[in-house]
C-alpha cells in the first residue's frame, strides 16, 4: 500500500463516494411523496405568504420550528406544479451534499484512507439512525437538514479563521435551531470542536453563539412561552415494547425523571451498539423468546466492533488529548463524543432512532478515522495479533456491508408502502379529522396520487428468507 498522500487514492475515494450517493439516489427518488406526513404539511405550507407562515410558527404551542415551514414553502414555490420531482430530487441532492461533506471531513489522501472510505460510507448510510432521514420525508426531511447543518458546522470550524466563517456559523446555528429542536446540536458541534482546538470560528463568535444558545431557551420558554411537548403526546419505547401515553403516565406520571433518564441512556446505547432501538430492547427480547432475527445480530456485531475501534483510538490518543494537542482526527472523535452525549440528553422526552441521527453521522466519521489510525498498527503486530485483527476487520466489514445493502432495500420497501398509501388516500382523508377538504386539497390529492401510482408501474418488495438478514422494514 502507498503510505503517503497520493492524488489517485483521493480521487478514487471521491469517485466511490459519488457512486454511493448516486446509487442511493436511484432508490431514494423512487419513494413517492408520502401521504400521512406530507399531505397536510403541503396544504398548510401553501397558505398565506412565506413571511406570515414563518412568523406564525413563532407562536405555536409545544414546537418552535418556523424555518422548517419556511424551507418547505420555498421548495414548494420553486416547484410550481412539479411537486414530486422537486421534493424527491431535493432529498437526493441533500444526500449527495451529505456524502460530499462526509468525505471533506474524512479527507481521504492515502491508500489506507481509500480502503477505509467504503466502510465509512457504509456506516454513514447503514446505521439505523440514518434510515429515518431517507425513508421518510415531510416532504422535506427535517432530520436530514439538521445533519447537513451539523456537518456544515464542523467544516466551518475546522481550518483557519475567516470572517465569513463566523457569519456562516451564526447563520447555521439560527437556521438549524429554528428548524427543529435537534438543531441545537449545531452549537454542540461548534463548541466541542472549539474545546478541541478548532479555531475556524473566532472566540467572539463562539461567545455570541453561546449567548444565542442560552437565548434560545429564553425565547422558547419565557418570551414566546412555546414550552415543550409533554409526556402524554406520543407513545414511546420502554423495555421490551412500546408504551402508550396512558401507560407511561401510569408508570412515571408522578415523577418522570426515571423515564427521562431511561431515554437518555438508551439513546446513547442505541448509537454505540444498535441495541436498544427507540428505547425497545428488540434483540434482547428475541433472544429471551428464542426467535432471533439475523439482522439484529448483524447490527449488534457491526456497531460493537465500530465502537471498539473508536474506543481503541481514544485510548491510544489519550495522552495527546490530555495535553490538549488535538489533531483533526482527534477532534472528529471528540466532537462525536460531545454530540452523542448532547443528542442523548435532548432525547430525554422521547427516544427514536432518527432523532439520534446527528450522533449517528459523527459515529460513522469517528469510526472511519479510528480505523485508518488503527490500520497503521497492523504491521507491528505478531502473527496471532494479525490473525485476530484480520478476523475482526473481516467481521466488521462484512456486517457493515450487510447493513449498507439493508439501507437500500429499506428504501425499496418504503417506496412500495408509500405508493400503496396513495391507493387509500380517500379513506385517509375521510379519517384525517378534517371532514371538509377544499378544492385545493382535492386537486393536490389527484396530482400526488397520479405521480405516486398512475405515472409508472409499481416497484415490488424483494422476497425470500435471505431478507431476514437485512434491516429493511
Amino acid at each position: 500500500m502507498t503510505p503517503v498522500p497520493d492524488r489517485r487514492w483521493a480521487l478514487a475515494a471521491w469517485a466511490y463516494g459519488l457512486l454511493v450517493a448516486t446509487g442511493m439516489a436511484y432508490y431514494l427518488v423512487d419513494v413517492p411523496i408520502q401521504l400521512s406526513d406530507s399531505f397536510g404539511n403541503i396544504i398548510k405550507a401553501s397558505d398565506g405568504t412565506l413571511g406570515s407562515l414563518v412568523y406564525n410558527e413563532f407562536f405555536q404551542r409545544g414546537y418552535l420550528r418556523p424555518f422548517l415551514w419556511g424551507h418547505l414553502r420555498v421548495v414548494l414555490d420553486v416547484a410550481g406544479g412539479d411537486l414530486t420531482a422537486w421534493f424527491r430530487w431535493w432529498h437526493a441532492g441533500q444526500l449527495l451534499a451529505l456524502v460530499v461533506m462526509y468525505l471533506a471531513l474524512f479527507r481521504p489522501r492515502t491508500a489506507t484512507d481509500a480502503a477505509v472510505t467504503p466502510i465509512g460510507l457504509a456506516m454513514l448510510v447503514g446505521l439505523h439512525t440514518f434510515h429515518g432521514t431517507v425513508r421518510e420525508a415531510f416532504p422535506i426531511n427535517t432530520f436530514m437538514t439538521i445533519l447537513l447543518c451539523c456537518f456544515g458546522a464542523m467544516l466551518v470550524v475546522e481550518g483557519r479563521w475567516r470572517w465569513w466563517k463566523d457569519l456562516l456559523a451564526l447563520l447555521l446555528f439560527v437556521f438549524a435551531t429554528l428548524t427543529v429542536e435537534s438543531g441545537l446540536l449545531v452549537w454542540v458541534v461548534l463548541a466541542a470542536a472549539f474545546l478541541a482546538g478548532a479555531r475556524g470560528v473566532s472566540k467572539p463568535a463562539q461567545a455570541l453563539l453561546l449567548g444565542l444558545f442560552v437565548g434560545y431557551f429564553y425565547l422558547r420558554f419565557s418570551a414566546l412561552e412555546v414550552g415543550a411537548p409533554g409526556l402524554i403526546e406520543r407513545s414511546s419505547g420502554f423495555g421490551f415494547g412500546s408504551k402508550d401515553p396512558e401507560e407511561l403516565i401510569a408508570l412515571f406520571g408522578g415523577n418522570p425523571l426515571g423515564f427521562y433518564a431511561y431515554n437518555v441512556v438508551t439513546s446513547a446505547l442505541s448509537v454505540l451498539f444498535s441495541e436498544p432501538r427507540g428505547g425497545v430492547w428488540d434483540l434482547t427480547r428475541d433472544v429471551v423468546v428464542g426467535e432471533v432475527r439475523p439482522y439484529g445480530v448483524v447490527n449488534l456485531v457491526a456497531s460493537t466492533l465500530a465502537t471498539g475501534a473508536i474506543a481503541a483510538f481514544a485510548w491510544t490518543r489519550r495522552r495527546v488529548w490530555l495535553a490538549r494537542r488535538f489533531e483533526p482526527d482527534d477532534r472528529l472523535v471528540f466532537v462525536f463524543i460531545g454530540v452523542l452525549a448532547a443528542n442523548a440528553v435532548i432525547s430525554y422526552p422521547y427516544t427514536k432512532d432518527v432523532v439520534m441521527s446527528p450522533a449517528g453521522i459523527f459515529f460513522a466519521l469517528a469510526a472511519a478515522v479510528s480505523l485508518r489510525q488503527l490500520a497503521g498498527s497492523l504491521p507491528g503486530l505478531g502473527t496471532r495479533g494479525v490473525v485476530l485483527a484480520a478476523c475482526c476487520v473481516a467481521l466488521l466489514s462484512g456486517t457493515w456491508a450487510v447493513r449498507a445493502v439493508g439501507a437500500h432495500l429499506g428504501l425499496r420497501t418504503a417506496a412500495v408502502k408509500m405508493r400503496n398509501e396513495w391507493a387509500y388516500v380517500d379513506a385517509w382523508m375521510a379519517g384525517a379529522g378534517q371532514p371538509n377538504w377544499d378544492d385545493r386539497a382535492r386537486t393536490l390529492r389527484d396530482r400526488l396520487q397520479r405521480d405516486a401510482i398512475l405515472s409508472r408501474p409499481a416497484r415490488t418488495f424483494v422476497v425470500g428468507d435471505w431478507t431476514t438478514w437485512f434491516d429493511h422494514e
Binding site: M1, P3, L19, G23, Y26, Y27, L105, T110, A111, T112, A115, V116, P118, I119, A122, L155, G159, R160, E327, P328, D329, L371, R372, Q373, L374, A375, G376, S377, L378, P379, G380, A389, A390, V393, A394, S397, G398, W400, A401, A404, V405, H408, R412, R419, N420, W422, A423, Y424, A427, A452, I453, L454, P457, A458, R459, T460, F461, V462, V463, G464
Partner: protein, 188 residues
C-alpha cells in the same frame, strides 16, 4: 478547508520501521491484506446495490421479487392496491376473468376476476377500496363475493360485503368451487 492532518498515522510510520527491520515485504503484504479485508465486502455490497438498480432498469422488473403483477387480478391477489388502480386507469376490467400465476393466490386458483382476487387477498382495506370505487356491479356479484369470503374463512370481509343476512344463505364451499372449476383441465 482543514489543514493537512498531522496525526501520526501509523500507516505512514510503520512501513518505514518495518523496512529498517528488513521486513518491508511482510508489512506491505499485511497492510494490503488489511485493506482488502476492510474494503472488499463493502465494495461487493455496493456492486450488488448498483447491479440491482441496473438490472431493474434494464429488465423493468425488480430482481428477487415476486415480480410486477401481470394484470389487475394479480394486482388484487398480491394486495398491490396502487398497481390495481393504475391498471384499472389503463382500462383493465376488474370484472373480467384473468389468468393468474399459481404463486399469486394458490396453485388451485388460476382464473379469477380482480374482485375475487381482492377477497382472496384477505385485505379488508382492499375490498373496501374496490367497493368505494363502485366496482361491484350488482347485488348478485356482491353476494357471490360475500359467499366466497365465507368459504375462505374471511368473516370480516363477508360481513363488510353483506352486513345484513341474506334471504338465502350461502351454500358452503360452492362459491370457491365455482372459481376452482374455471381452472384449465389438468393435462395428467
Amino acid at each position: 478547508m482543514s489543514p493537512a492532518p498531522s496525526v501520526p498515522r501509523a500507516s505512514s510510520a510503520h512501513p518505514v520501521s518495518a523496512h529498517r527491520a528488513g521486513a518491508t515485504t511482510g508489512a506491505v503484504v499485511r497492510a494490503g491484506l488489511f485493506a482488502a479485508l476492510l474494503a472488499l465486502p463493502v465494495l461487493a455490497a455496493t456492486a450488488w446495490v448498483v447491479g440491482f438498480a441496473v438490472l431493474e432498469t434494464v429488465a423493468g422488473e425488480t430482481p428477487l421479487s415476486r415480480g410486477t403483477p401481470h394484470n389487475i387480478a394479480e394486482a388484487a391477489g398480491m394486495t398491490d392496491a396502487g398497481e390495481f388502480l393504475r391498471l384499472r386507469a389503463q382500462g383493465q376490467d376488474p370484472n373480467w376473468i384473468y389468468d393468474i400465476r399459481p404463486e399469486v393466490i394458490s396453485s388451485q386458483v388460476l382464473r379469477v376476476n380482480a374482485l375475487e382476487a381482492a377477497v382472496w387477498s384477505r385485505q379488508i382495506a382492499l375490498v373496501e377500496l374496490v367497493d368505494r370505487e363502485g366496482l361491484i356491479p350488482d347485488a348478485a356479484t356482491r353476494r357471490e363475493l360475500a359467499c366466497l369470503a365465507e368459504d375462505i374463512g374471511a368473516a370480516d370481509i363477508a360481513h363488510r360485503l353483506a352486513p345484513e343476512p341474506a334471504d338465502t344463505p350461502c351454500d358452503p364451499g360452492q362459491a370457491m368451487a365455482r372459481v376452482f372449476a374455471r381452472n384449465p383441465p389438468d393435462p395428467d
